[in-house]
């Protein structure tokens, strides 16, 4: 399959940026050659640790070919004129440079196993995947467009929660995303989320857990409160497994834990079930 032009451009930029040839696995300590790691979808070949993955790498592994990005031009704001050690616009500029991303989520449409779908992918490398006005706006645009096309949407989450530097505007994005999810779902459209490491705070307390089917990657940390906050509250150390994807599966919070190399295949099956059921599915629960 030829590499699409959009990805070709992205990859070239990535290679300029990532001059380091080797990455150390944080789980088993193995030194991994970055090119091999990328070829293995950023999964450690020794211990199966799932590294945090760039949004465009993720998209290229999920869509069949083309991906038409939407909302890329949604502009970054600084609603509180926030400055602490650094100004917020300077922090954003730094992260744009470092990550090659314009913001914490990339949204668009493409084919997945032959099914048309909307796809939103968050990226932890941009301000810890935190949700501010741009992330909220892009998620809402994705779901509104998905609703007008009447196609399923899939969102990969990776987030430290709401973005502090946008204050209440960030908190209001939970309400915005919820409004968009609710309209999308009430029209009978299918929403699938794939929770990746980490998914916490405002993102887990909104669209991540509002989906019809919730998938998670192995070992991903998923929860509302951060580990540190809980440990400070209860004044004791938490067990290692606490808030992992496997822990949540056992507690009944998510549908399945799926290894990264099997995720596309699983999504295609889920989209397939929905396609077969389309004729009987209730549309327009409430207009």
């Amino acid at each position: 399959m030829p590499m699409p032009e959009w990805l070709h451009v992205r990859r070239a930029k990535d290679e300029e940026r990532n001059t380091a040839q080797w990455s150390k696995c944080p789980e088993c300590g193995e030194m991994l050659y970055r090119r091999d790691l990328a070829a293995n979808l950023w999964v450690c070949s020794r211990c199966n640790h799932h590294f945090r993955m760039g949004a465009y790498d993720r998209i290229s592994g999920i869509v069949d070919g083309d991906f038409a990005e939407i909302g890329a031009d949604v502009q970054v704001g600084d609603p509180l004129s926030w400055t602490d050690r650094k100004s917020y616009p300077a922090k954003l500029a730094g992260d744009r440079e470092k990550s090659g991303l314009s913001e914490g989520v990339v949204c668009g449409f493409g084919q997945i196993g032959g099914f048309e779908a909307g796809l939103g992918v968050m990226d932890f490398h941009f301000r810890g995947g935190t949700m501010g006005t741009v992330v909220g706006e892009r998620i809402a645009l994705l779901l509104e467009e998905g609703r007008s096309r009447a196609v399923p949407c899939i969102i990969f989450t990776a987030s430290g929660g709401a973005r502090m530097e946008e204050g209440m505007f960030a908190l209001m994005q939970l309400a915005k995303a919820t409004a968009a999810v609710t309209r999308f779902v009430n029209d009978g459209n299918l929403l699938i989320t794939v929770l990746t490491d980490p998914t916490t705070g405002g993102v887990s307390a909104s669209f991540a857990f509002q989906a019809d089917v919730i998938v998670a990657e192995p070992g991903a940390m998923i929860g509302f409160a951060g580990r540190r906050v809980i440990e400070q509250t209860i004044r004791q150390k938490l067990p290692d497994r606490f808030q992992t994807a496997e822990f949540l599966l056992e507690k009944g919070h998510i549908d399945m834990v799926v290894e990264r190399r099997r995720i596309k295949e699983m999504l295609v099956h889920l989209l397939g079930y929905a396609a077969k059921g389309a004729a009987r599915r209730l549309h327009g629960v409430r207009a």
Partner: protein, 324 residues
């Protein structure tokens, strides 16, 4: 900790002396009356000095004041209230109270986070920090409001959702996420009142509303100042600095269009005259409900959608990549 503590003591001292003189004034009415007047003038001066223009951090403390009216004080001023309990599955979380009631003759579903008014009650009510089963009770009551066709009135007063092990084990994220859906979907009018501290998603779970009313000294923020300082600078002691950055006051949020109206408080905060503040708030809730009564459910729902859809919408250019 409390930035008012020292000067509040000076106020209490003045209050005590005025009260003493009042009891003593039977003996020497004229002399004492003038002394009382002097002290009262002094008292007003100190009061203005202490509370005249509180900083955001001082407002955080007014919002957390132990004598500030809590949800149940507002509900107690209803004509009638019948509490409904539990999530039908696990437990009745007493950090949140709710039920059907009559407010100025109108049937409503009232829901509020309830912190304790003393240590014992705080333990029972977990300082107003709601657990998943509490948020599931809220969802149930929101659905019930739609079933009864009565508007919802919520009283928001929490530092944030409960961050304990049990709450994580019982899916706090999902419980809050589904509360947001329940309020977004409710076909009845919703009025939310930020009566104390509105902290993060745990507060928003009760605050998606057609009208958001906020008390003059209440705060409402993406995280508590302590939480924000811990997240950004790994240092919760920088809370005062965080409070000044967060733009968490009613005046900031009115300017941003995130709240719709501010209810004034007496100088020094609602704790100085709870009955007046409670009546004032219920008047405003009543007026908001009368106004919302005019709209049919589909109109309410689309206005609610547009309102949250617009908040913080970034400017966009017209290039095809951004077209939808």
């Amino acid at each position: 900790m409390n930035p008012f503590a020292d000067r509040e003591r000076a106020l209490f001292e003045l209050e005590r002396r005025i009260a003493e003189l009042r009891t003593a004034s039977a003996d020497q009415p004229v002399v004492i009356a003038s002394e009382i007047a002097t002290l009262e003038a002094k008292y007003q001066e100190v009061l203005h000095d202490v509370y005249g223009s509180p900083t955001p951090w001082q407002k955080v403390h007014i919002a957390r004041h132990p004598n500030r009216p809590t949800a149940l004080e507002y509900i107690a001023a209803f004509d009638r209230f019948d509490e409904l309990h539990g999530d039908r599955a696990y437990r009745d979380d007493q950090a949140v109270v709710g039920g059907l009631g009559l407010l100025r003759g109108r049937a409503v579903m009232a829901i509020g986070q309830q912190r304790g008014r003393d240590t014992k009650e705080n333990l029972r009510r977990n300082f107003g920090m709601v657990a998943p089963e509490g948020y599931r009770k809220v969802q149930r009551l929101a659905h019930l409001a739609t079933r009864f066709g009565v508007p919802m009135v919520t009283f928001v007063d929490t530092k944030g959702a409960d961050p304990g092990i049990g709450s994580e084990e019982r899916a706090q994220s999902e419980a809050i996420a589904q509360c947001l859906v329940a309020f977004t979907d409710a076909t009845v009018p919703i009025v939310a009142v930020i009566i104390g501290e509105g902290g993060s998603g745990g507060a928003l779970a009760l605050a998606i509303a057609d009208r958001v009313i906020m008390l003059e000294n209440s705060t409402y923020s993406v995280a508590s100042p302590e939480g924000c300082a811990a997240i950004l600078w790994a240092d919760a002691t920088k809370a005062e600095e965080a409070a000044s950055h967060l733009k968490l006051t009613a005046q900031d949020l009115l300017r941003f269009g995130i709240v719709d109206e501010i209810v004034p408080e007496p100088l020094g905060g609602a704790n100085r005259d709870p009955a007046t503040v409670v009546a004032r708030v219920l008047d405003r809730v009543d007026a908001a409900l009368s106004d919302l009564d005019r709209y049919a459910s589909p109109t309410l729902l689309s206005a609610r959608y547009e309102k949250y859809r617009r908040i913080g919408s970034s400017k966009r250019d017209s290039s095809p990549a951004g077209k939808r």
